[in-house]
Amino acid sequence: MTALTERMKDGLDAPICITWELTYSCNLSCVHCLSSSGRRDPKELTTEEAFRVVDELRNMQVFYVNIGGGEPMIRRDFFDIVEYATSSGVGVKFSTNGTYIDAATAQRLAAMDYLDIQISLDGADAATNDAIRGEGSYDTAMTAMRHLKDAGFGEFKISVVITRHNIAQLDEFKAIADQFGAQLRITRLRPSGRAVDTWEQLHPTLDQQRTLHQWLLGHGENVLTGDSFFHLNALGESLPGLNLCGAGRVVCLIDPIGDVYACPFVIHDEFLAGNVRGNGGFAAVWRTSDCFTELRGPQSAGACASCGSWDACQGGCMAAKFFTGLPLDGPDPECVGGDGEYALASAGAIPRPNGDHSKPVAVQLRRRSNV
């Protein structure tokens, strides 16, 4: 562990990286959605309030935000907020399912500075992708990527959440990225949001995790991971990137209603640090909230203390433990030493995330034939 990583554990004066979900509204209903998105929350930040958040980020010298949702492009003031941020020196990378990127929008996006785009894709073919993201979503994403390429946007990102069903397609994802001149970004599936109920069927097996580790080592820094696979470091050779949980230390989440959570994967009261509408705004939450102060304090290795791999994996992902009912000071549910599986057998009750914004299940209307 380097001195720098040690410093990061104590937290920084401002986050390095903020995820800012602009809306809970979404046209899709992905089965693993980390924010259980679907319907807009009536309390979502207004345009003016969003601008004040940007002002704060600029003053704190947060260099860029990762904007997401829901589907952020659904907001009518999406471009207003993005343009306000980039012209304030706060760069934007936003995640989208691509629905609202037609040829004209792609050209508008390509003309903007300090802007990066991440298109979500969870299968290298329509069948694999649509099983997770919904009918037609593969074609939608591919069309958006074609528009970005045609508009000369440059190197956008293709963002893949790794599951049991798409992990065998890593080379195909890479080929799709190469085809569009894009960069591949793969991240870990967490049991957050709607994935609380689907993680068990979707998360990669232990054998698959070993394959993934080797694949990542082979591709080095050409494939982005958001440093989300650091639990795999216990397999031996370390992956590039920060080997630590950054929740409340270097990262956090601002949700659509201004609530600030330790990371995008822990939308639960336990990790709710405050709201940007409160006195002192976001800066006060980041610097003085009890929740973040506690996360920056010394963390116990607990049941992992006697494991020889502790230095390598740091006990893994807090969100993954929390939403599988495991203690935070024990092994990650996907511990590559096999301790997670053992712990899951006696896990406690699984907490429910705050706020389910899922759309009501559509009931097919049928004509009454006997009237």
Binding site: A3, L4, R7, L12, D13, A14, Q61, F63, D116
Partner: protein
């Protein structure tokens, strides 16, 4: 690099941190860590002096440490944080 005229890249912003500073390059969207406060002072001041060595002496840095600073600046040139002027 000691006798080269240098400057901080115009698209790089520095954010002070307890360990030194975070540098963000707006052109290539890379974050770079400057892991010592004194290297931060030197980098910020490069443009005010004819070359690296005169910057170092203006900051009262002992000649026996110049090699280390030279190496650190070289790596910042590689990541495009510091450029020739």
């Amino acid at each position: 690099m000691l006798d080269s005229p240098l400057k901080l890249h115009p698209s790089v912003a520095l954010r002070p941190e307890p360990f030194g500073a975070l540098a963000y390059h707006y052109d290539n969207r890379r974050l770079i860590f400057l892991k010592h406060p004194s290297i931060v002072d030197v980098v910020k001041d490069l443009e005010q002096h004819p070359d690296l060595q005169s910057t170092l002496s203006a900051h009262g840095i002992d000649e026996q440490h110049w090699d280390n600073y030279d190496k650190a600046i070289c790596s910042l040139i590689e990541s495009d944080v510091v450029v020739a002027r």
